[in-house]
Symmetry: none
Subunit: 420 residues, 2 copies
């Protein structure tokens, strides 16, 4: 049992829009027990739609296509799919009435002519009513296989998937569905290959139905355990078993599981200790504060941040001394320390982390090349700790790494193992 996705739209190929629909559908189908084995992203091109539909219809039990169902000249998906299945388009009156009613509700005197096309349906296709737009979803079932095409607007696609497609598949394929579960273990402070050495050869402890994947990120390496089987209970039990092995072998490098980010871990640790954080950010420009406040419950452990992008803000709002900036520069250990201690003082928190650096692409010098970043961690009644990063990962990468390193410094302080 498998599914393929066909994402249709020039905007996806030219990178104007990121294909979030495919990720969403992949998650939902996986949760139902239908693994997605391929996503084909193609343009608004009839020949490509036909060629790709033919391949997918051959290779997969379920094909879900999205995009190109609108009323304008560039929406050609429906006609192409009808051509592939050798079906004629016929007017579907209930859809025409629904589209007309929609326009009346929006205050139009009459429906624009082109919307009649929205009510044309290939013969033999089921119509999936779309309450969030004018283009219905279309479903064709034949000899155990299903082909579905949905609008590309995410809200409409999600509405039709949730309300029509998933219930249809759940019913139609009930004897073929397996439980598929994933769990992700978050680590920090250790590289991919060193972590792999600690964990050992996965073949020695994984069943055939279980996969272990290493997912490196700036924040740290994530380990995803994926398992499939007859029931959710047996699959979860198998995942528990593998998680226990990994936790034992990776020890202190394990932060937690699932979608727990480094920021979420820090929020949890602060909460457990009833401590409050503030940040002072220059090159990260609010990124650390943003990561922390993305987490539920951040409001009890985070006072705020002074984003001191410009030097006058460092002086005025954080109390960094002009002399420090002149003698050592904005990107220096001294400035980082004064920023962190200034934030602690100014915002009255228990901890403050400060970051100042050269994110790039411009602003680097021979002495301080792009990627030079100073981090300081200040704590009430404790010495301030500093750390320097010096490697260029590009503007976005430098910011992400700086944020991760700062949060990791705090995480270790909270766990009482600065030295680790």
């Amino acid at each position: 049992m498998n599914a393929e996705i066909i994402s249709i739209g020039d905007e996806l190929l030219i990178g104007q829009v990121v294909n979030t629909n495919a990720a969403w559908i992949g998650r939902e189908l996986g949760a139902l027990g239908v693994p997605v084995t391929r996503v084909n992203t193609i343009g608004d091109n009839a020949k490509e739609i036909i060629v790709t539909s033919r391949r997918a219809w051959k290779e997969a039990d379920v094909v879900i296509a999205t995009g190109g169902l609108g009323p304008t000249h560039d929406d050609i998906s429906k006609a192409a799919v009808a051509t592939f299945f050798k079906k004629k388009l016929k007017l579907h009156k209930p859809t025409l009435e629904a589209v007309k009613a929609r326009f009346a509700k929006l205050g139009y005197d009459k429906m624009p002519e082109s919307n009649i096309s929205q009510a044309m349906v290939p013969e033999g296709f089921q119509v999936l009513k779309n309450d969030r737009g004018t283009a219905p979803g279309l479903l064709f079932y034949n000899a155990g296989k299903t082909y579905i095409i949905l609008p590309g607007v995410p809200q409409e696609m999600e509405f039709l998937m949730t309300g029509s497609v998933l219930p249809f598949l759940k019913h139609k394929y009930k004897n073929k569905l397996e439980a598929i579960k994933h769990r992700t273990i978050i680590t920090a402070g250790i590289g991919e290959s060193s972590l792999a050495e600690k964990i050992g050869d996965p073949k020695t402890f994984l069943k055939k139905s279980t996969i272990l994947a290493f997912l490196p990120r700036a924040e740290g390496v994530r380990l995803r355990i994926t398992s499939h089987g007859k029931s959710t209970a047996t699959v979860n039990k198998e995942i528990d078993r593998v998680e226990a092995i990994i936790r034992e072998r990776a020890g202190k490098y394990v932060l937690g599981t699932e979608d727990q980010t480094l920021a979420a871990t820090v929020v949890r640790l602060l909460t457990e200790r009833s401590k409050v954080l503030a940040t002072a950010e220059s090159c990260t420009g609010g990124l650390i504060a943003s990561k922390i406040t993305e987490t539920d419950g951040a409001s009890t452990v985070f006072y705020g941040s002074i984003v001191a992008y410009h030097n006058h803000v460092k002086i005025k709002e954080l109390g960094v001394r002009q002399l420090t900036l002149i003698e050592h520069g904005a990107v220096s250990e001294e400035t980082a320390i004064e920023m962190a201690e200034g934030a602690l003082e100014k915002l009255g928190s228990d901890f403050a982390i400060a970051v100042t650096g050269i994110a790039g692409p411009d602003g680097g010098t021979k002495e301080k090349p792009v990627g030079t970043i100073w981090i300081a961690l200040a704590e009430r009644n404790a010495p301030t700790l500093t750390k320097k990063l010096q490697q260029d990962f590009g503007r976005v990468g430098n910011r992400e790494r700086a944020a991760a390193a700062a949060l990791e410094m705090l995480r270790r302080r909270l766990l009482g193992n600065d030295a680790a």
Copy 2:
């Protein structure tokens, strides 16, 4: 001349990671003059990699594969590609030295064994040196066709694309490259089909080398003009011509044209006007500042932000009056105004945007449910503008929408059409 992308990784199929790499590569190749005609997303599966490589190698001039080049057991892409091209893997000494040096620099006593695999290269492949990680990129050129495989970590992929792949393609295919340009016109206040009626049949005014696409979104319909041709100048002239026709026919519904991101547009508009921005953020917690500072050149137009997550920071750092918080609450039009005006005053900028709201999932009341967000835009010597959002899209969605709405308010103010 065309390219296909092969994105390899189970995490993409199960929807754990959104495929941003493909969008990034699509943009860069398009800018070079190589249109991407297909993105194949597949799992970490040798058979799939071979089958998909065979198809792509047949259909495209350039194939760019990403993912599965790491040092762990689940990284199988290189071996699969070598199998497809019937090439043996051989040790590439300079790569081994580079990987060893990398580990030494990171403070390791010795390189973990598994990294030897990083230096194994299929015979006949060029090695693209990766300064941001241990896995080099690999390039195979034969009879006018190029196959490239890169690591899936975005910073590493981008580094290799920018430094090695794009220069290679530019040189190797210089006689085949065309100029390809896109421009997107933003409209609001009119539906897709009504807009299409106003614009008329595109066939009557589009050249064969030009495409007009309708992109419906919640905020309004965007119209993308894409054109290709011999030189950038002729292509831009053609796009100017089509834009003029659309602007004339769509009239007041046209808001303007779009750059890459809203934050980048705001940075550009501020730069053109020599104006400086500051932000005061509560529920967005630094997200707006982070989006702005992610853009190159933000340092000349952005002073900083007061992230006032806790009320005492609103009072102390932004000068919000205690009485305002008591009488109207932290999430109110009055508080948003005082936050924006306080930031303007405190940081000395020309504009300040402030956001306060209930991101959720907790903290909502009957009067102010989750998703209630107030935005204020203050400008030196101009009245402060406010806007209320009230719909729940989940914590992350609420924060993203608030940031987008705030930036959009500023964008319109900078363009002089607040009322639109």
